[in-house]
Each structure stands twice: as structure tokens, then as C-alpha cells.
């Protein structure tokens, strides 16, 4: 489904992503792990068009999407959430998701129909699936951090993505909130058959949900494989997991 090859991004000579490769098949839940500054977020920015790659290719459903504008990448079927909360602060929870649904339905240039009555069912459905239904009239800026992170995912679902990219979906969440988000991701993958690509520092979470794991270090992709393969790879143990048993809990 997604095939990244020899992807490189330099910032003034600094190699943020260096010859990285990544493959995501339909139905996969792929985790990208690696220490801070390994280039995970940059990789996601490159795939979703926020950044233009210096070199390399990104194929999504047999089509080269490298260098496309973010809104074009989204229209191809890739949605994303952000590491730092990135929502529409002054809009209500309902309106936040509705903006994405209206965009998906190509209604953004409709000037004369009341938006209030549009895409209501679909928007409520999404809010229901992430557990935000009781809060739809709350101004999103006033939500708790955990709820805002969930709303992040809800907005991304508004475009009915085939591939959902989540940048540290549980960063800053309490253990309870993390458990809920983990459950949500499982549900999205199983019930809604959405392919998920995410990065995360919480190893417990990564190993409990990911079907494949890609390890990055200093901009390079060291290995991609099943959790067992990654866990037993000596290079990974040395470079990232520090030889400890951290990943086997």
C-alpha cells in the first residue's frame, strides 16, 4: 500500500532522514520506533507532504506521492494526527470533525447551505467511535489534553482514510487514557479496517498492537519486521533498546 524507498531529507546539510525505507501493507499496524531525533516525525512529514523530500520515492497505491501538497496527499487517502495537539481551538468538538467530513465530501465551496444540518450523522458516528459523543458542543480549546489527543484522531478519521498516520498518539496521556487510545486503535484496525502507521515511545504499547515494527536511528531505517524479529535483532538491542529487556514486557 505504502512503499517508501531511499527517502532522504536534509536541512542545511543536516541529514534528518537518510536513505530510509518503509513498507506498509493493507491491514497492517506498523510502528516506527527510535530515540528522540531519529527522524520519525520528519519521515511522517515527508509522507504527508508537509515537507518535500530531498531525494527518494514514496509510492502510495502504485502512485508516486513524493512532494505533493499536503491537501493532495490527504485526498489520496492518507490522514494524519500530530504529536503536539493540532486542532481547531475555537470550534466545538463537533465542528472540528465536521470540517474534515465536509472536506472529504467536497463541500468546502458550498456557500449557501446551512452547514449545521450537513454531515451530522457521519460526524456523530466518528465522535461515537472515539468516545467523544457527550462532549460535541464543548469548545475544543477547553478540552482536557487527553480528549484533545483523541479529537486529533477523530479529525483524521473525518476523511475516511485508508492509511492513518498517528504521530505519538499517546504522548502526554495518563495510563488510563493510553489504555483507551490503545483500545481505539485496535478497534480502528479491526472493525474499520484502517491501515495504521504510528510512532510511539511507549514500548509496552508498541509491542501489544503493532504487527510490524520499523526501527530508526540517526535518520536511517535499521530494520523492519515482525515484533519478534525486531526484539531479537542484536543491532536493535544494542542501538536502541540498550541490550535491556525493556521490549519484552
Amino acid at each position: 500500500m505504502l512503499h517508501v524507498e531511499a527517502l532522504t531529507k536534509t536541512f542545511d546539510g543536516f541529514l534528518a532522514v537518510n536513505q530510509a525505507s518503509l513498507t506498509v501493507e493493507k491491514g497492517d499496524v506498523v510502528a516506527v520506533i527510535g530515540p528522540n531525533g531519529a527522524g520519525k516525525t520528519t519521515l511522517f512529514h515527508l509522507i504527508t507532504g508537509q515537507l518535500t523530500p530531498t531525494s527518494g520515492t514514496i509510492y502510495f497505491k502504485e502512485e508516486d506521492i513524493a512532494g505533493l501538497a499536503p491537501y493532495r496527499v490527504c485526498r489520496k487517502g492518507i490522514s494524519r494526527s500530530y504529536q503536539v495537539v493540532n486542532i481547531f481551538n475555537r470550534l466545538t468538538v463537533f465542528e472540528n470533525v465536521q470540517v474534515a467530513v465536509l472536506s472529504y465530501r467536497k463541500q468546502t465551496f458550498n456557500l449557501f447551505q446551512p452547514a449545521k444540518a450537513m454531515a451530522v450523522k457521519e460526524t456523530r458516528q466518528i465522535l461515537d467511535s472515539v468516545g467523544l459523543l457527550g462532549k460535541e458542543e464543548t469548545t475544543s480549546g477547553a478540552l482536557s489534553h487527553g480528549d484533545q489527543k483523541v479529537l486529533e484522531i477523530a479529525i483524521a478519521l473525518g476523511n475516511r482514510p485508508e492509511l492513518l498516520i498517528l504521530d505519538e498518539p499517546t504522548a502526554g496521556m495518563s495510563p488510563e487514557e493510553t489504555a483507551v487510545t490503545l483500545q481505539l486503535m485496535k478497534q480502528l484496525s479491526r472493525n474499520m479496517e484502517i491501515t495504521i502507521l504510528f510512532c510511539e515511545h511507549d514500548m509496552g504499547m508498541v509491542f501489544s498492537i503493532a504487527s510490524k515494527i520499523m526501527v530508526m536511528q540517526a535518520g536511517q531505517s535499521i530494520i523492519q519486521g515482525t515484533p519478534d524479529m525486531v526484539r531479537s535483532n542484536p543491532q536493535v538491542r544494542k542501538a536502541y533498546l540498550g541490550g535491556s529487556d525493556k521490549c519484552s514486557r
Binding site: 499536503p70 491537501y71 486542532i87 470540517v99 472529504y104 452547514a115
Partner: protein
């Protein structure tokens, strides 16, 4: 559809105000009729600015260039073309929106302050043209004695015409603000980056917003000519843009009717304080300072909050 757009309380309030305005002319002196007709034009101007400023988050620093352009287009049509006078009321706003399209094509490539500064400089070019091109625009003298259709050439006629056109335009703008386009526009205001990530072509959206707002500014320009019967380059000067910007902030730029209230307050203030001192802008400056410190949601925002009919405080807090 009506139900989806209006709540009963605000519909009754607006209906009441409109009825009073319709019945008013026989009972008040002519000067006030003139003043109110001018306020209507300014209300439309301020609301059209707020459509892109408060609801679109665009730093529209030189909005009155579209207002002045509409006024000049109407004046030139009326004095030079020989076409029926009513036609000007349609063609002038179209001219304004074309100018909006032209400037927009260049400016929407930039964001925030850069957008605003570029618009300011391009708009000033248009002003310079009007200011210097004596043979065509009358230069710094402007154009005076512009003929108007008989029906609206009296001050009462102009009052009713401006009132009706303004009300219709406000209703259309209200619909636009509450349409999917408006909702998307508010999304762009809050977070353009996220809008791109959900598949919205932000620049094109802003360009359309710019064209629509310039159209209504152009309509406001023709209403100005209807009241004053003249045009002059000051209509396109950047200080006027600043004044209209202050109207939006004063009234409350996250509320649809906020700028209308702001426009009414400023025009009234200018007229009556202007009688006593030519330094009336000093008062304006003090008003603005108090506003920033104590009323970030604007006068109407405060009023609505006190009456408990809108959660504007939360909105403003979230915005900070």
C-alpha cells in the same frame, strides 16, 4: 433551512431593530437620516471585512481599497459611461470583486502578516492611481455631483435604499458564514496547517473568501456614493482600513453582528466628538486601549456574555 440558521431570540431582536429603522425617517431630523444612511454603508463595509478577518483569520489590512474601488467604479460609470444608473449598482461590486481576485491571486500565496503587508502595498498602488490620475479619476479632488437614480436621490430615498441593501447583504453574508464554506473558513482561521492535512486547498479557499468579501465591500462603496454623491481618494487610503479594522475589534470580531455595532459606535463618535475637537482620533486611541485590556471579545461579546446567550468568553480564552 431558516430554522437551521437563526435562533428565535436573535431573529426577534433583529426584526425589532429593523421595524424601528423602517418607521424612523418621518420622526427624525434630516441630518440623522443622512448619518444613519452613512452608518448602514459602513456597517456593510465592516461586516464584509470581518467575514475574512474574524471568520477567515486573514490579515486583511487594506480592505477599503475594495470599498473605494467600488465607489469609484460606480462614480465613473455614472458620470462617463451613459449606461442606466441602476446598472452601476451591479457592475461596481463586480469590479471590486475582480480587483479582489487580482490582488488575491498575488497575496494569498503569503500568510499572516506578510499577506497583510503585501495587500497594504498593492492597495496603496491602487490608491496612488486614483490620487494622481487627474484626467480619469479627478485626482485628489475626486468626483463630485455624481447623478443618482431619481428614486433614491433624496435623503430619505437613500436611507431606505441603503437600509434594504445592507439588510439583504448581511443576510447573504450570514448564510455564507454559516455554510460549509464558512465552517471551512473558520477552520483555516484556527489552524491552516491542519486544514491542509484534512484535504483543504487553503489558498484557493482564501482566494474565494477574498473575492466574496471584496464584492460586498464594493456594494458598500456604492452605498457610500448614494449618501454622499461624491468619491475621493481617501476612500482607498490605508488609514480608513485601519479604522474599519478597529470597528471589527470594538464590536467583537468573533460575532457576526459585532462589527455592525462597532461601525455604529465609531461613526457616531466621529460625528459628535468631531464637533468639539478635531483630535477625535485621540478618543479613538483611548477607546482602543481600553478595549484591548478589558474587552477582548468586543462590546457585543460582553453584552451577549452578560445576557448569557453566548459562550463567547470560552471562545476568546481558547483563542489566546
Amino acid at each position: 433551512m431558516i430554522k437551521a440558521l437563526f435562533n428565535i431570540k436573535s431573529a426577534v431582536t433583529c426584526g425589532g431593530i429593523l421595524t424601528i429603522l423602517l418607521l424612523l425617517p418621518p420622526f427624525v431630523p434630516r441630518f440623522y437620516i443622512y448619518l444613519m444612511a452613512l452608518i448602514f454603508a459602513t456597517v456593510l463595509l465592516a461586516t464584509s471585512l470581518n467575514m475574512v478577518l474574524g471568520f477567515g483569520g486573514m490579515f486583511q489590512f487594506h480592505h477599503t481599497v475594495f470599498y473605494g474601488f467600488g465607489a469609484y467604479a460606480f462614480a465613473l460609470m455614472a458620470t462617463k459611461s451613459g449606461l442606466p444608473l441602476w446598472v452601476g449598482y451591479i457592475i461596481a461590486p463586480v469590479c471590486s470583486s475582480l480587483l479582489g481576485l487580482l490582488l488575491g491571486l498575488i497575496t494569498v500565496r503569503l500568510t499572516n502578516l506578510y499577506f497583510g503587508m503585501l495587500q497594504l502595498s498593492l492597495g496603496s498602488l491602487v490608491w496612488a492611481l486614483a490620487y494622481r490620475w487627474y484626467s480619469f479619476t479627478g485626482g485628489d479632488d475626486g468626483i463630485h455631483g455624481i447623478p443618482l437614480p431619481d428614486l433614491i436621490s433624496s435623503s430619505t430615498g437613500a436611507y431606505y435604499f441603503n437600509l434594504i441593501v445592507t439588510v439583504i447583504c448581511l443576510m447573504v453574508m450570514y448564510m455564507i458564514v454559516n455554510s460549509p464554506f464558512g465552517r471551512t473558513f473558520q477552520g483555516i482561521r484556527d489552524n491552516p496547517e491542519r486544514c491542509l492535512a484534512v484535504g483543504i486547498d487553503v489558498q484557493r479557499q482564501q482566494l474565494v473568501g477574498q473575492v466574496v468579501a471584496s464584492f460586498f465591500a464594493g456594494v458598500a462603496g456604492t452605498l457610500f456614493v448614494t449618501v454622499e454623491g461624491s468619491v475621493f481618494p481617501d476612500l482607498m487610503f490605508w488609514t480608513l482600513s485601519l479604522e474599519v479594522l478597529i470597528m471589527c475589534l470594538l464590536g467583537g470580531w468573533f460575532i457576526f453582528m459585532g462589527p455592525a455595532l462597532g461601525a455604529t459606535i465609531i461613526i457616531t463618535l466621529r460625528t459628535f466628538v468631531g464637533i468639539y475637537t478635531e483630535y477625535w482620533t485621540l478618543i479613538l486611541g483611548i477607546v482602543l486601549m481600553l478595549l484591548i485590556f478589558f474587552l477582548p471579545e468586543g462590546v457585543l461579546g460582553l453584552f451577549l456574555r452578560k445576557s448569557g446567550s453566548a459562550d463567547t468568553k470560552g471562545v476568546v480564552d481558547a483563542a489566546r
